[in-house]
Each structure stands twice: as C-alpha cells, then as structure tokens.
Amino acid sequence: MKKNKITYQDVGKIGKTSNLLLNIIMILLALACIYPLLLVFGISITDEKTVTLEGYRLIPKVISFKAYDYVFTDAVDIFRAYGVTILVTLLGSIMSLIVISLYAYPLSRKDFKYKTFFTFIVFFTMLFNAGLVPWYMVYTNILHIKNTLFAMILPGLMTPLYVLIMRTFYVTTIPESIIEAAKVDGASEFRIFTQIVLPLSKPSLATIGLFNVLFYWNDWYSPLLFITDEKLYNLQYLLYRINQSITYITSQSNSLGNVSEILANIPSQTARMAMAIIAIGPIVLAYPFFQKYFVEGLTVGSIK
C-alpha cells in the first residue's frame, strides 16, 4: 500500500534532471527580476566620483553612504515629500475603505430594491469613461481641488472592481439569518453594519486596504495632473520631477547658459538612486508579509 503511494507521487512529478534544468531557468529569471533593483542599490552606496569615472556597477568599488547622509540630513524637499506620501496614503486608504465598504453593503442586501441600479452605475464606469480632459476640467474648474491633498486622494477612493469584490464577499460570507436576527432584536442598520458585518469582513477589507495603500504610495499621476505647488509634491512625483530636469539638461546642454545653476539644485546621481531606494524600501520590505492578501485579491478580482 505504502509503496504504491510513493510510486504515484514519483509518476506525478517531473524527472530529477528536468527539475534541475527548470530550477536553473527559474533562478536566472529571478535574477533578471531583481538585478535592476540590486543595481540601483549598488549605485546608491557607491562613492560619487567612482560612479562618474567607472559608470554604474552592481558591486561598488568604493563604498560610501554619503548619498544617504545627504538624503536624510540636507534634503528638506525629500522629507516633506515623504510626509505627503505617508499622509495621503493613510488618509486615502482609510477613506477609501469607508466609502467602498459602505457603498457595497446595500448592494449585497437582497431586500434592497434598487441594488441593481446602484450596482450598474458603478459597473458602467468600467465600460465607459469620459476621458482625461473632462475629468481634469471637473477637478480644476468645478471642484476646485487643484493643488490640494484631496486631488491626490479622490482619484483612488472608489475603484469599481473593489466595490464589486466587496459586494460579492458580503453576499457569500455574511448569512442573511444573522442580519434578520439582529433586526428582530431591534438593532439599527448602522449597528448591524459596524458590529456584525464589518468584523466578519476583515479578510476582504485587509486585501482591498492593501491594494489601496499600494495605489496611493505609488501614485505619481494625480500630482502630475493636479499639483504644481512644490510643497505638495509626493515622493514619487518628486522623483519624477528630478528625472525630468535631468532629461531637460542633457537635451539642451549646449544652448543653455545656466546649466550649472540647475545642476546645483539637483541631487547627485548616487543621491537620486538613494531616493529611489528609499521610495521602494518600505514596499519591498513589507510585501513578503502581505503577499498572500495580494494574491487572494488578484485571483478573486480577475475571475470575479
């Protein structure tokens, strides 16, 4: 009996040679995935002069942490941008969870007559959108939120897919009988929602919350459109702006007289790479712990 089982497993697995070969391919691909990250890290801890002379290298010839010294002590902009990123990420993720969990709940209730209509108006935004210009005009000319934190929060508040995922979660995991029983006991809708429904929805809230955090942390698009005030630059957008000014200099270096003046205001190459590492850092360190939630959300979301 036991022997039989072992042969099953052996038949069910690939041969040792092909296993070794596939592992080698996987290791090479994995290296290709992280090499650029390691490279940027390598540059960030290299001495600036060495980088200028020898070019970008994975393993630094002369190690120096000056770039990080600069970023952590001299660069006020970066601190402020970090603050903006953290603030927007916190506010945005929390507000988004509130908006989504509230909106999805009535859609999950069988006794709510207009659930189809309110589901459809969310769903329709996945099919058709007016495009960049009308959206831009509404933000700037009607809501007047250009150059406010809210311009970076509002775009991510209600991703339609998350509303649908949340609704499906409520429908499949919250038994109607519990809600009915609570109603009979005289509990109000809001009490049922906050004391019964939300505690049962923790896994789903965690998944959507993490996707929100990722969105706000990595957002450079809303500031690109709506933020011109340097004090409100977030980290990603600050990185973007620095990149832009460098491209500008290299493309105009012959015709410009004040190049050195612009250059003086731009962090050195190693400092730039250090900034990129600081922007990535929290995500790379945290994601192995939260990966499971992302995988769950992804598989639910893609196949609904």
Binding site: N19, N23, G55, Y56, Y114, V133, I142, Y221, T247, K304
Partner: protein, 310 residues
C-alpha cells in the same frame, strides 16, 4: 400614470431603507466627481474651447476636431502603436506567463517555487517612475550598464534614448518584466485548483508529465485563459500611460514608436493646450474602447456566463 406609481414606490423604499440609502451617499459623491460629472464634458470634442468664454459659451465646431485628428498622420500612428504593443503584451502573457505558471507548478521543491513566485511578483509593486530609474541605470549613455558592456567589448556605445529602432523591443521587454509575475500568479491559482485525481488516473495510464500538461493542465484552465485574454482584448485600445510616458522619458525623437493614444491625449492637453483636440482623441478612444469591451464581454458570456462582466 405608470411613472407616478414608480415614484411612489421609490419614496416608500427610501423611507423603508433610509439607512441603506445613507450608506450609499459617500460613494455616490465619489462616482459623481470622478465619473458622471465629467461625462457631459465630452461635448468639448465638438467645440472650439476658449478659456475666456468657458464651457458653455465656446463655439460649436461640429466634427472639425475629429477631422483634424484623422487628417493628421498622428491618428494612425497612435492607434497602430496602442494596438500593436497591446497585442505583443497579450501574446507574451499567453506564452511566458502561462509557461512560468506551469513550471512553478511542476517544480519538485514547493518552497523554492514559492520563493521564485515572490521574486517574479516584485516588479508589480514598483511604480513606473521607479522603474524608469531602473531602466535608466541600464540605458544611460554615459554611465549605463549596457554601454559599459559595449565599451568593454570594444563596441561603439549607443545613445539609447534617441535611437527609435530599439524602443519597441525595450518597451515590450520592460512591460514583460513588470507584469509577467502578476499574470503567472493568476494562471497558477487556476492550475492549483485542478482536481488531483485527474493526474493520478493519467499517471496510472502511463501518460508522461509533458502529456499530462498538454492534455490535463492546459485544457482544465482554458476557461481562465480565454476570459483573461478576451478581457485584455477588450482593453486593447487603452495604452498603459505610466509605461509609455515614463520609460522613454518624453523624448521627441522617439514619439513615432512610443506615442500611444493616452500619451497623445495628455500632450494635447498639457503641452499644446488644445482642449478640443484632446477631448476628441479621448472620446475616440472611449467610444471604440466601449464597443470592444462590449464585444469581448459578449464573447465571454458565450463561454461562461459567470465570468462575464455583465
């Protein structure tokens, strides 16, 4: 008569489920400001927008903005780029990501497989701005790793950011790097769900592992493959703005091969300030995109009703 009856029931429902309606309010406000207030704005596509005259008083110009767009060579270039890049991305997802998922499932050491999977997933978590830093460290003409290698082998360094011929390959490569891990996770989740007894039965019948992949694994996850692909085809008219905007660094000489509809609309709005044209291009994209999404959904429905968006 009928209408008034419907109104009455709406009021009744409003009274009965007041709390549920209140819960909807924040979401409705967000939907209004992000999606529904902008919708009448598509009328700008038929106007010659004038900043001092504003939205209502600007002159109507009929289809002039569209005529101008389609008479320029740009309409063809941006449509071609958007579709061809997306096609390439779809094909790569179908081969590379699917292959990766199958291999990860076959590896003998599951713990190693998990580690590989985590590493492949990593690029998904990086913003396009950060990715543009990574790409720059490889492609920079003075310090970049590629040019260092070329010089090392006594070859002429290449000024990557002004050589258009390399960019289709670069963009496809970068996009593959960012999304393959993500796609493979979706496929892998489907593969893991396949009934194990199918494989056991096949093994008893003497089917090799390769045969099992061909005749069990792939057919079993065919619905997932079909649906994902159709949904992607439905979005073939939308370019990934972050990729096409950040990675080529907005270099004018590269526009021919890097400009997609989304970047074109942005440039028309911000750089040229041509509101009418920008709205018209956006509406062109939204309309064709809408038809394609509906068509893709129609096909998905025929395969599997549950997986269609509607």
């Amino acid at each position: 008569m009928k209408k008034s009856k419907k109104k009455a029931t709406f009021v009744e429902e409003l009274k009965r489920n007041k709390s549920l309606f209140i819960m909807l309010i924040p979401g409705i406000l967000v939907l209004l400001s992000n999606n529904y207030l902008p919708m009448p704005g598509v009328l700008l596509a038929f106007k010659d927008y004038n900043y001092t005259k504003g939205f209502f008083k600007s002159d109507w110009v009929g289809f002039d903005n569209f005529k101008y767009l389609f008479n320029s060579s740009q309409a063809y270039i941006i449509t071609r780029n958007t579709i061809l890049y997306n096609l390439a991305f779809i094909i790569i997802s179908l081969t590379l990501a699917l292959g990766l998922a199958i291999i990860l499932n076959e590896l003998r050491n599951k713990r190693l497989a998990k580690i590989y999977q985590s590493v492949f997933f990593l690029p998904y978590f990086l913003s396009w701005v950060v990715v543009s830093y990574l790409v720059y460290s490889l492609l920079s003409s003075d310090q970049g790793v590629f040019n260092n290698l070329l010089v090392h082998f006594n070859m002429k360094p290449i000024n990557w950011y002004i050589e258009a011929k390399f960019w289709p390959a670069i963009l496809v490569f970068v996009n593959t790097w960012k999304w393959t891990g993500y796609d493979s996770i979706i496929y892998l989740a489907a593969i893991v769900g396949i009934d194990k007894s199918l494989y056991e039965a096949a093994a008893i019948d003497g089917a090799s592992r390769v045969k099992q992949i061909m005749y069990i694994t792939i057919p079993s996850i065919m619905p997932v493959i079909t649906i994902l692909t159709l949904l992607k085809i439905g979005r073939i008219f939308y370019g990934d703005f972050g990729l096409f905007w950040n990675i080529p660094k907005n270099m004018g000489v590269l526009y021919n091969v890097t400009n997609v509809i989304d970047t074109y609309v942005y440039r028309a709005l911000v750089q040229a300030g041509d509101i009418g044209m920008a709205t018209a291009s956006g509406l062109y994209q939204a309309t064709v995109g809408f038809i394609l999404v509906l068509a893709a959904n129609f096909v998905v429905r025929r395969f599997n009703k549950e997986n269609a968006l509607m």
